[in-house]
Symmetry: C2
Subunit: 151 residues, 2 copies
DNA sequence: AAGACAGATTATAATGATTATAAATAAAGG
DNA sequence: CCTTTATTTATAATCATTATAATCTGTCTT
């Protein structure tokens, strides 16, 4: 889906939620669209928006991200490094994607495929818990780092 | 395993790692042992240690927890609420246990059973990623809350 | 167009969690 | 004992995030 289409869809979602797409909010969403692969922190998003010549305050970025999280347009994740990171939820994705965190180089890869369908069935049945979402991160060593080490 | 035994084992692990079990460190570990079911934050641990009449500084709690994390005696988790929480790693447990976070009441349940054995095999094979550990939290509604709501 | 209102934004201050620093204390080794 | 080193403490500093109050924007009303 093109960024144009995404943006239109997001504008609609904001409206339905009773918010409007102000220039600052639009700039924030655009930065998220342009950096889909990264896992940006609020501070990083703030910097990137300012670089695009759009004026914005840090507090606005936080408020916008909170709103987008509430609308389930973005997902908020914390790894164990003390900053929250934000990620566009893929259109139509019913589940939160998984992450592969390399302990050597710190890179974060994504897994789109939902690996937890069966596991969630087990949880619902055995633990009497209604699952609505999940956070799954694997810690380990990525292919590139293993290759470097073996040399 | 009894707390005595646990404590002895932990003392040994500290020694092997080149640290000693000072009174403050012992008090911290004891609080963790006595509250295995909870997911305590540094601040909470600090309070609990002081209640046991043991004098300690907050910074020492942080340093001790960092050390215990490094030695893999405790695990550090962040949910999305801005505080880090610490959990004793069960003796012999090779994997990090899973969590069930209830979005209604905020309660955190634990799952000891490793539900990811198969999933990790898939990850190693399909994504060329060597998995050493994982973090898995399910978000949803616990049995108690569902019961309350249906009334 | 002027006034009034709600919603947004901004700069700034405040808070909360965590980490760094420097001085004091305790422990270990000779 | 004396010296050296590790540890703790109190405090200050830092970093991420949230609250506040003033200002601004746009829209509606007349």
């Amino acid at each position: 889906m093109s960024q144009e289409t995404m943006l239109r869809s997001i504008r609609k979602q904001l409206h339905d939620g009773g918010y409007k797409l102000t220039p600052q909010r639009e700039a924030t969403v655009l930065v998220l669209l342009e950096n889909e692969k990264d896992h940006l922190s609020a501070e990083e998003i703030y910097m990137l928006v300012k670089q695009k010549s759009s004026e914005i305050g840090l507090a606005t970025v936080y408020r916008t991200l909170e709103m987008l999280t509430e609308l389930k347009i973005v997902d908020k994740i914390s790894f164990n490094d003390g900053v929250a990171r934000y990620d566009l939820r893929k259109e139509g994705a019913k589940h939160f994607h998984h992450h592969l965190l390399c302990l050597e180089c710190g890179s974060i890869e994504e897994i789109e495929e939902d690996l937890l369908v069966e596991v969630e069935k087990v949880v619902e049945k055995n633990f009497n818990f209604e699952v609505t979402d999940h956070r799954l991160t694997f810690h380990g060593v990525c292919g590139a780092c293993r290759e470097n080490k073996s040399k």
